[in-house]
């Protein structure tokens, strides 16, 4: 079975019923035509719309193509320029790394806390869940509008409030010292909903008899959480570190809407840099080279995460 690919994500067993896969009765007859008719469209789509363009992008990254000219082969010229002559590459990489680390760690951590909260038996808990998740379903342009206004140096809610207690607030988004933090706060506010839902689903599938057993043994609520619940959540947490890293490292929308990378590149992130090269300056070859550098970074970090999986992720079936 394709189980080998993801050994850990097995389906929940059906209570009291026979094992889910009971293939012995029906002999595993090959259904090549039917099988490929079912999966064919998706496999063809992935090959045509993703994998072929990925390969093409590697070729383009070795040229000076603008989309209009006849491309000249540059070898590794684009890559050399990126690492040695591009003034915004390192600052944008630094911003991306800071953004990613802070956002991944805090969204998962806060998301875990909220998931535990949302798993309490309280009247109207569905309303709280919806409220907490609501920023995650809101488009970044609307979010940008509101926060832009909240951050306004003169009339914004934050500085108006600070003024009443005699503090002169900073010009959040146009000050190079605070801009990145201000954007990160918005990204966390919007980003915790997804980890919360995934971890809530994780919490709800934990067998309550395990927790009750620990209680009978006299474990405190704190100890029950860290010794029983947390290890059982590690597969979900692992899934989240992988997916949150990949999405955070590619942050674009919130930056585009709130600061456009400014002031003075203080919030310029990697994707924004690629977007500008490709669609601002028409340097498709250069943008493709940056795309591949991004790909390698994401690939290496993801591989390291998989490698470390055994150290902290607890599987128990």
């Amino acid at each position: 079975m394709a189980n080998a690919v993801l050994p850990t994500l097995t389906p929940p067993a059906v209570d009291g019923g026979p094992p889910v896969r009971k293939r012995s009765k029906v002999k595993p007859k090959r259904q090549n035509l039917a099988g490929w008719l079912f999966v064919g469209p998706v496999i063809a789509g992935v090959l045509f719309f993703q994998l072929a363009p990925v390969a093409a992008s590697l070729v383009v990254s070795l040229t000076n193509w603008s989309g209009l000219n006849r491309p000249t082969f540059l070898g590794l010229g684009n890559y050399r320029e990126l690492f040695t002559a591009d003034d915004t590459f390192y600052p944008s990489l630094r911003n991306t790394v800071i953004f990613t680390v802070v956002v991944v760690v805090l969204t998962i951590f806060i998301g875990l806390g909220l998931a535990v909260l949302c798993n309490q038996k309280v009247k109207g808990i569905g309303i709280f869940r919806t409220l907490y998740y609501s920023p995650a379903v809101t488009n970044v342009v609307a979010i940008g509008f509101v926060w832009f206004w909240l951050y306004d140096p003169n009339n914004g809610l934050f500085n108006s409030t600070l003024r009443t207690i005699g503090i002169h607030g900073p010009a959040w988004l146009s000050d190079t010292k605070t801009a990145l933090i201000a954007v990160i706060v918005v990204a966390i506010w919007q980003g915790v909903g997804y980890p919360m839902v995934i971890l809530l689903a994780g919490l709800q599938s934990i067998d309550t008899s395990l927790i009750e057993a620990a209680t009978v043994d006299g474990a405190s609520a704190w100890r029950r959480f860290w010794a029983v619940v947390f290890p059982l959540l590690t597969p979900s947490l692992f899934f989240l570190t992988i997916t949150q890293f990949i999405t955070s490292f590619q942050v674009f929308g919130i930056i585009y809407v709130m600061t456009s990378g400014g002031p003075n590149n203080a919030t310029s992130v990697f994707i924004f840099h690629i977007y500008e090269a490709a669609f601002g300056h028409g340097r498709l070859g250069y943008a493709s080279a940056m795309g591949w550098v991004l790909f390698v970074i994401v690939g290496v970090v993801t591989a390291v995460q998989w490698k470390m999986e055994k150290r902290w992720v607890h599987y128990d079936n």
Partner: protein
């Protein structure tokens, strides 16, 4: 301590009461943190223009100016139609292709199945920026730039997460159900469509809701692939309005509120299935 005291939230002993209050207080605190910017947006959307930038700011409008909504709604309507059309195409076709592939990977036995599945999962890791440039060129060759095609056709044919989630859901359905249908002479497609598909409704709801939100809130796709204003979607229209139409904050906030309502209502309705669908996928703790 006995287990009885644990299991009864209804007649819980008085010593648990403070804990309950603490939980409620924390829940309310976070509710304020998450809702405050939204409430502020709604409040501003109902204010007369001169009141929005008043200092110190007031939370409640002095008069509720509902006309802001009709004015913003009037301007947004054509873009609303585009967004609805794209969301419907994305959700409908993605659910079709993802459930077909999910079922194929879960239950059918065919050559190169493991290879195909590994190929599919591996693409989840590729940043879309890597293939964006060649994709753009491909769409240009196909005459798809400044049409709606790039905003749904590639999405519905590459549903990696949806296929994975539905495959997990199909694997959780007892095989006896399927065998009975086969014995009754149902075809493979008939079994899939009539017997199996209704069994995975929560997973379909979860994938459908996520797809809707992805399509509704997409900023990057329309920004790159569309040029004509008449084809634009709600998020872009909102960005355009900021410069062109609405110099008034109250109208901008009314427009922003209108764009976030549909996904919010959808999540409120689908919330239960959403969590259930993810649990069903076996992505469990």
């Amino acid at each position: 301590m006995t287990t009885e005291t644990l299991r009864v939230p209804l007649n819980r002993p008085p010593k648990h009461l403070p804990r309950r209050i603490v939980v409620l207080a924390v829940l309310l605190f976070f509710a304020v943190v998450f809702a405050m910017p939204m409430l502020w947006m709604v409040s501003a959307s109902l204010k007369p223009e001169n009141e929005v930038l008043q200092s110190p700011p007031t939370f409640l409008p002095s008069t509720f100016q509902w006309a802001n909504y009709s004015q913003a709604g009037h301007g947004l309507f054509p873009f609303f139609v585009n967004s609805v059309k794209l969301a419907a195409l994305n959700v409908g076709f993605l659910l079709l292709f993802a459930s077909l592939a999910g079922y194929g990977f879960a239950r059918l036995n065919f050559a190169f199945k493991n290879l195909a599945f590994a190929l599919l999962l591996s693409t989840a890791m590729i940043p879309s920026m890597v293939y964006l440039v060649p994709q753009y060129m491909l769409f240009r060759e196909m005459g798809w730039i400044d049409t709606h095609y790039p905003l749904w056709v590639p999405n519905v044919l590459t549903p990696v997460f949806g296929t994975f989630l539905l495959r997990q859901a199909f694997r959780g359905i007892p095989i006896e159900l399927e065998e009975a249908a086969k014995l009754d002479g149902a075809s493979t497609f008939g079994t899939f469509w009539r017997i199996m598909l209704p069994q995975v409704k929560p997973a379909l709801a979860a994938v459908g809701a996520l797809t809707f939100m992805g399509s509704w809130n997409d900023l990057f796709g329309p920004l790159i692939f569309l040029n004509s204003t008449r084809l634009q979607t709600m998020p872009i229209a909102l960005a355009l309005f900021k410069g062109e139409y609405f110099t008034q904050t109250n109208l901008m906030m009314a427009a922003a509120t209108l764009t976030i309502l549909p996904p919010l209502l959808l999540f409120l309705l689908a919330q239960k299935y959403f969590v259930q669908g993810i649990t069903m996928s076996g992505l469990k703790g």
